[in-house]
Structures are given as C-alpha cells and as structure tokens.
C-alpha cells in the first residue's frame, strides 16, 4: 500500500501531538510546521520509521517573513520518500534576533552545504554544524542579503519616478 499524506499526518500527530501543527496540502504536498527545538526529532522520526522512510533530503532553504514578530525566519525542509514516491515539506520558525536551529548534517550529508547557503543568505545559525561559514558570498560580508530588509533596488531613487504606471 502506497504511503498517503493522511497516514504521515496521523503518525506525526500521534508521536508529537501539538508540537507539529498547521497541516495543509497545497498543490497536493503535505506541509506542516514543527516547533523549533523539535526539528531534529521529527527529521529522525521521519527518517527511521519503516513505514515513513523519508530518507532523501531534497531541499533545505529559508524564507524571511518580516511581518511575523518572533517568527521572522522559516527554515524549510523538503523530504522525499523515494520508495513510495511521496514528498513532504515542513517549516521551522525562528526569531530573527536569535535564529538558532539544530543542524541536520548528522542525518543528511547533503544538509552541509544547504545549511551553509541558508546561513550565508539568511543568517540562520545551525547549532552543531561542523563548518558554518559563508559559501557563495565573500567572507567579509557582514549582512545576510536575502533578508527582506535589503531591497534589491534603492526604493528612494528618484531618477526612475514612474508614477504614471501606478507605482509611485
């Protein structure tokens, strides 16, 4: 029997109760939220349980939500069960003032550079990471460029005043 979203949700709720929440299925992919301190336990559980078997880390990245006080940074995990061909996604929220999230490098070697990239662009501090240094940007950089506080273009420049097009 192929693995279903409902089964994953049920198993997680049984094991973690209220620590996993906000289950949704946008475009068919089971998505949920995990308490910040529980990310490793959830990853390990999804990895080890024979009926879940999420042993492939497809992607790890972060998102900055500046309008959510105390939950400004989200680390997003995309996992894939290759046997039953099911993908899931979960988010862990952290405050931008102290963005400490446990590293997944012990479980997935792939997480090493993905976490370095996430640190590089969002400043998420992956606790326990063996080599948490910048990877794509220069080492001397002292800010985290993908955060929303850094607009791509100077919003105050006046030589591009295009009020005519409703964007004044």
């Amino acid at each position: 029997m192929a693995l279903r979203n409902e089964h994953v949700q049920q198993r997680l709720s049984e094991k973690f109760g209220a620590l996993v929440s906000n289950f949704e299925e946008p475009y068919g992919m089971l998505s949920f939220e995990v308490e910040k301190d529980q990310n490793l336990k959830v990853l390990q559980f999804l990895h080890d349980e024979a009926d879940l078997n999420f042993q492939f880390l497809t992607d790890l990245c972060a998102v900055n939500y500046p309008d959510q006080p105390g939950r400004e940074l989200a680390v997003v995990y995309h996992l894939h069960n290759l046997k039953d061909n099911l993908r899931i996604r979960f988010k862990v929220f952290a405050p931008v003032a102290q963005p400490d999230v446990f590293t997944a490098t012990k479980l997935y070697s792939a997480a090493n550079w993905m976490e370095r990239e996430t640190y590089d662009f969002f400043g998420v501090n992956f606790v326990g990471h063996p080599n948490l240094i910048r990877i794509l940007n220069v080492d001397e950089m002292d800010y985290f460029p993908l955060r929303k506080e850094f607009p791509l273009e100077d919003q105050t420049r006046i030589d591009k005043d295009d009020q005519m097009f409703g964007r004044g």
Binding site: P26, D59, C61, H78, R89, R134, N137
Partner: protein
C-alpha cells in the same frame, strides 16, 4: 639569500616542516571546466584532503527573482545549467503553470519534450566527450561538437537563440515550430545515432579510458542518497530514481523509455549511464515527433495554452482589440498579480532533479524563489570521492560529475 628576498617569499607557517604539498586547483584552471576552486593537500600524487570553494560566479538569482514578474525570471534560469538551458526554462514554466493551474495541450507537452530531450543530449554529449578530453582523447570532443551544433540550430529555429535560450513562454511556445525546425530535427535524428555509436566505440571499450575511469571516484548508493545525489550520478550508483518516471511532467507518462542504471557509482558508470540516456532520449524524441505529426486539423496548430494573463497576445490583436492591448500592457509592465500559494516543482535536468520552490504572496513578483540545484548539492561529495585517490583521478571525477559552475553558484 638576502634578507630582502626572504621578506618577499612568504611561505605559510610550518610549510617547510610538513610532508605534504598544497595544490590550488582553480578558480581558473583548464581542468575544472568552470570557475571553482579546490585546495588539495597532496602526499606525492595521492590526495590527503580536498576542500572546495565555490561562489565565484554567484549572481544572486534568488534575490533578483524577488523583483521580477514570472516571465522575466525565465532568462535567469537560462544561466543555471547553461549546457541545457531549455530544460531550466521549461522547468520554470511548468512551475508557474502549476501555481496558476494551467493545463497545457498535449501538442505543447510533446514539443516541449522534444526540446528537453535535445537539451539532455546536448548536455550529456558535452560531459561525456569532456571526460575523453580529461583522459587524453581530444578527438571525440571535437568531432561530436558538430552534432551539438545541429541541436543548437534547432533551438535557433524555435526561439532565436542558442546557448541562453529563453525558450517558450508560460503556457507553451511563443510561436509554432517552423518546417525548417522539423527538417533540422529530422536531419539530427538521422545523423546523430551513427555519430553517437562512433563516440561509444571510441570510449566504451577503450583500454586506456577504462583504466582511467573504472574505480575513479566511486560512491555507494547509500552515500549517494545521503548526499542528495540525483540524476545520472545517482543512477550510476544503482538507484533508479528519475523525476520523469517518478513524478511525470509534460506528459512523460505517454512515453516508453528505459532508465539506465549503473552499479559501482564510479566515473565509468557515470559515463555509461549518460551514454545510455542519450539513446533513450533519441527514442523519446522519435516517439514525440511521431505523436506531434499525428495531430490533425486544428489540433495540429496548437502551440500554447490559453493563458491571457501571462501569454503575450498576437501583435495584430494588440493593435485591434482592447482586451489584447490590456493584457499586452500588463504583461510587459509586469503588473499581473499572481495567486497566493507555495509550489515545489521539479524536472529531470541534465544533472539531476532541478527543483523550483516558489512562494507567492499574491503580488506581482515571487515572495521567495529557491532553486534546488543538483550541481551545488553533489559537489560537496567531491572531497569524499577523491580523497585517497590520485590527483589525475580527481580531474576525471570532476568532469564525470558534470559540474556546471552556473548551476553551482546560482
């Protein structure tokens, strides 16, 4: 030696006492085929440790994408894996279509498959022939280049450009394939198999090539999965994961093809898997071309879906119809609001699973766009693959992984 000279030659501390040599391979080095650096510690010719530095051509695509409407992000994706740009373009369009819930007509899907499989061949033939170059056989590379040229001519006929193609639009193609495009496709389908057979004969049972690649940089299936390998590199280790089969997109489920797998995950198996995939791609293109030819009546002229919000209307309509003018204006000015949502969509790129994670907050540009770039993910395994081996093997391993700097650095 005078004191003045000693002042200028500043050796790292302890470098005289240590028994190993530090070798800096890259960032610009003829053997890296791209801008990345490896700092290797060598004991004679044996690699003791290797550390990779990446980011030399980082262009902040993810940040750029946050200020661009969807159609303007396509040219960014060109510059990821530039050996197979059309796959990136179409992968991005498929992501947008998933977000917008657009259903594409079958003919569009088949035309896309023709282009994507041509791109896969272009990607793999470069990788495999470059492996030849790195083992000392230049001829194959020079020879096979003219067949990539045939592929590029087809791109040119379809979209006007060759390398960074910006091919297609959200919903399909900007114009139908011309008769010349099909003639060129037929020419390619007719001539390429013989050339590929010759390329195979040059390498597959070539004693020198085999000695150089068998056992070079092997990886087990477990480690490959743990490292997030996808694509030919994972399949060479014996895992038959292929996005085209697991999560079919663009009607790949209508096609009959095999997924070649290897066993040892070494450079030779990676070569064989890519080689096998080129044959399968040829078969897919043949099937797709037959399907395209089978369309009759109005179906035979369809080359895009009906997506007025994102697909530029015909120029005649823009001049004569109000609706078309409005959409033209909104699309060009990037003033179309997209639906709210979060989408992850992946295609089987030349190097593996190329994923797009798109978050829309209902604005005109993505709130966040993340590219899952296979090259970036598997390059971190490089030191594990080469440590303990010879320096010359490290070069072969690098070219067999098909690292593309553009995809690596995004």
């Amino acid at each position: 030696m005078t004191e003045h000279h000693q002042h200028h030659i500043k050796l790292p501390e302890g470098s005289i006492e240590k028994q190993t040599t530090t070798l800096n391979m890259g960032p610009t080095h003829p053997a890296t085929h791209g801008v990345f650096q490896n700092i290797m510690e060598l004991d004679g010719e044996r690699i003791v440790s290797a550390e990779q530095t990446v980011g030399y051509i980082h262009r902040a695509f993810e940040k750029l994408a946050e200020r661009r409407p969807l159609n303007q992000i396509t040219p960014i994706t060109d510059r990821l894996n530039y050996c197979s740009s059309p796959i990136n373009n179409i992968g991005w369009h498929l992501t947008c279509e998933k977000l917008l819930n657009v259903q594409t007509p079958k003919r569009v899907d088949y035309l896309r498959i023709i282009i994507m499989e041509l791109a896969r061949i272009a990607d793999h033939l470069i990788c495999n022939s470059i492996m030849g170059v790195d083992t000392g056989a230049y001829t194959g590379f020079m020879y096979i280049m003219q067949y990539r040229e045939l592929i590029y001519e087809i791109y040119e006929e379809v979209c006007g450009s060759r390398l960074t193609t910006n091919i297609g639009r959200i919903g399909g193609f900007e114009r139908d394939f011309s008769n010349t495009a099909f003639t060129k496709l037929e020419k390619f389908l007719k001539e390429y198999p013989a050339a590929l057979r010759e390329l195979e004969n040059l390498f597959t049972r070539n004693r020198i090539f085999m000695d150089r690649t068998i056992g070079a940089g092997p990886i087990s299936a477990e480690r490959a999965l743990n490292y997030g390998f996808t694509g030919p590199n994972l399949r060479a280790a014996g895992v038959d994961y292929d996005v085209r089969v697991h999560t079919p997109y663009s009607s790949y489920e209508d096609f009959d093809f095999k997924v070649p797998v290897g066993t040892t995950g070494d450079s030779y198996d990676r070569f064989l898997v890519r080689n096998g995939e080129m044959w399968e791609s040829l078969s897919i293109i043949n099937q797709a071309y037959q399907k395209v030819q089978a369309f009759k009546g109005t179906d035979a002229d369809v080359f895009h879906a009906d997506v007025p919000e994102y697909y530029l209307p015909k120029k005649e309509d823009v001049y004569t119809k109000m609706e078309a003018l409005i959409w033209h204006f909104k699309i060009v000015m990037g003033e179309v609001e997209m639906p709210k949502g979060e989408v992850y969509s992946a295609v089987e790129g030349g190097n593996g699973e190329l994923g797009f994670y798109l978050i829309s907050d209902g604005g005109r540009t993505p709130f966040r766009l993340h590219f899952r770039r296979p090259s970036f993910i598997y390059y971190q395994a490089y030191s594990e693959l080469v440590v303990g081996g010879m320096l010359s093997d490290a070069i072969v391993v690098m070219s067999s992984l098909n690292l593309i700097a553009g995809e690596l650095d995004a």
